[in-house]
């Protein structure tokens, strides 16, 4: 291990790290938005839209991100729809994540016990009150573990961006290995930066998951 090499490469890695984080979190924000909207559409069984959402969720849950990115980045320009690599990464991650988040939120909404609805109605709550003060809080708590798992999964998936020549951590490492053949140092830094990126999320996620479990109501 040559620490001078590590020192020399550090700025490049930091730049790549920032880009990875930026696109990763934009994608995750998108996926949360898409997920919430899709879950509501599925939960309330809005005609036509719920069929569209179902097809979307199944399509994106059953294909790899790499294939989705290739299709959007190399395929769509042939139809005249050109997107920059960065936008493509964020949109791809958002669409993939959206389908996972939709499943998590939907199963959270579905897991709230029927007795909760019945009790709320027996107490004379209106439909809207029932949803916002009884179902929704419990559904959010119930979907926390799945959402945390999705967050980590999506942040990990950002490593695929290098395939559409986005200068992320993976691309930088691969590029430097190809140029200078300092494989050990490059891979070491790659691992360190992914640990910096994901370990806090993983630890925080576990804490939030534990807290959410205590807030469970009923049984």
């Amino acid at each position: 291990m040559d620490f001078n090499v590590i020192k020399d490469y550090l700025p490049l890695y930091i730049k790549a790290f920032m880009l990875t984080i930026k696109i990763g979190w934009i994608g995750i924000a998108l996926s949360l938005g898409i997920g919430v909207i899709s879950a509501f559409i599925l939960h309330f069984k809005i005609p036509f839209f719920s069929a569209v959402v179902k097809v979307y969720v199944e399509l994106f849950r059953n294909t790899p991100l790499l294939v989705q990115l290739f299709f959007v980045y190399f395929g769509l320009p042939k139809l005249g729809i050109s997107i920059s690599a960065e936008a493509c990464g964020a949109i791809g991650l958002g669409l993939l994540g959206g389908s996972y988040m939709a499943e998590s939120f939907r199963s959270g909404l579905g897991a709230v016990k029927l007795s909760q609805t019945e009790s709320a109605l027996a107490l004379g709550m209106k439909k809207r009150q029932l949803f916002t003060s009884v179902i929704l809080p419990q559904a959010i708590t119930l979907s926390v573990p799945a959402v945390v798992a999705n967050l980590i999964f999506l942040l990990k998936e950002t490593s695929v961006f290098s395939a559409i020549s986005l200068m992320d951590l993976m691309f930088t490492a691969k590029d430097l290995i190809g140029l200078y053949y300092n494989t050990t140092e490059c891979l070491f830094m790659l691992v360190i930066f992914y640990v910096i990126m994901l370990l806090p999320v993983s630890v925080l996620g576990s804490i939030v998951e534990k807290k959410a479990r205590f807030k469970m109501f009923g049984d």
């Binding site: 294909t63 790899p64 290098s162 395939a163």
Partner: protein, 222 residues
């Protein structure tokens, strides 16, 4: 639109062959993962402190390291550091089994610790010995919980194998790129048709398996 490229020569067959490579790698990895995962998962329920620490660290590594990084470490790192010259296919199987074993062991541990003590006590009350308890009561219940989840692992494994093109294995995406390159002049729009087809092929490979897993999960729900 670029779909006509696939009808030329044996292009479609080549694409399917590429998908076959991906499926082949994922099935081998799944088989290894299930086997090792069951052993590790069973060991994890023993509450041995050494195994606990080891499995916690192992699971955390798998949880936060992208599979792509692991692939690079094994494929490029092993050659440089250990002097081992692993082929891309072997590295891929090692990495995906490493990842799958972690996932599987966690599922097995969950399924095992999810069985109520009541089950053991009732079997003892009925006069069953330990072997009978496991064979007739515990293992059937665990299998019902595990099968849908392990089928789910297969679809995730198939999706993850798309990464192997990054270490130079000629699988479906790489074949797709080759077809596009070869027909650049005659059909400039091939990229759309080829990648749309690959998208659909992956969907067709994974969707039935997802459906099966969902169906079994519903069917065996208590």
């Amino acid at each position: 639109m670029g779909f006509e490229v696939l009808l030329k020569g044996n292009n479609m067959l080549r694409l399917l062959g590429g998908l076959g490579v991906a499926l082949y790698i994922s099935l081998i990895s799944v088989a290894i993962s299930i086997f090792l995962g069951i052993i590790l998962g069973a060991l994890m329920t023993l509450k041995n402190p050494v195994i606990n620490v080891f499995s916690r660290v192992y699971l955390e590594i798998v949880r936060i390291m992208p599979q792509m990084v692991l692939l690079f470490i094994v494929y490029f790192g092993a050659t440089k550091v250990l002097g081992l010259n692993l082929s891309a296919e072997v590295s891929a199987v090692i990495v995906f089994s490493f990842w799958g074993t972690a996932e599987m062991s966690d599922l097995v541990r969950g399924a095992l610790s999810g069985i109520d003590t009541i089950q053991y006590e009732s079997s003892a009350a009925l006069g069953m010995n330990t072997a009978q308890t496991y064979f007739h009561v515990i293992i059937p219940q665990i299998i019902r919980r595990l099968i849908p989840l392990s089928i789910n692992l297969i679809t995730r494994m198939i999706k993850t194998t798309s990464l192997v093109m990054m270490i130079g294995i000629v699988e479906v995406l790489k074949v797709g790129q080759q077809i596009i390159e070869a027909n650049r002049k005659s059909s400039p729009n091939a990229a759309f048709g080829v990648f749309a087809t690959i998208f659909l092929l992956y969907f067709l490979a994974c969707y039935p398996i997802s459906l099966l897993s969902k169906y079994l999960e519903k069917k065996w729900e208590n």
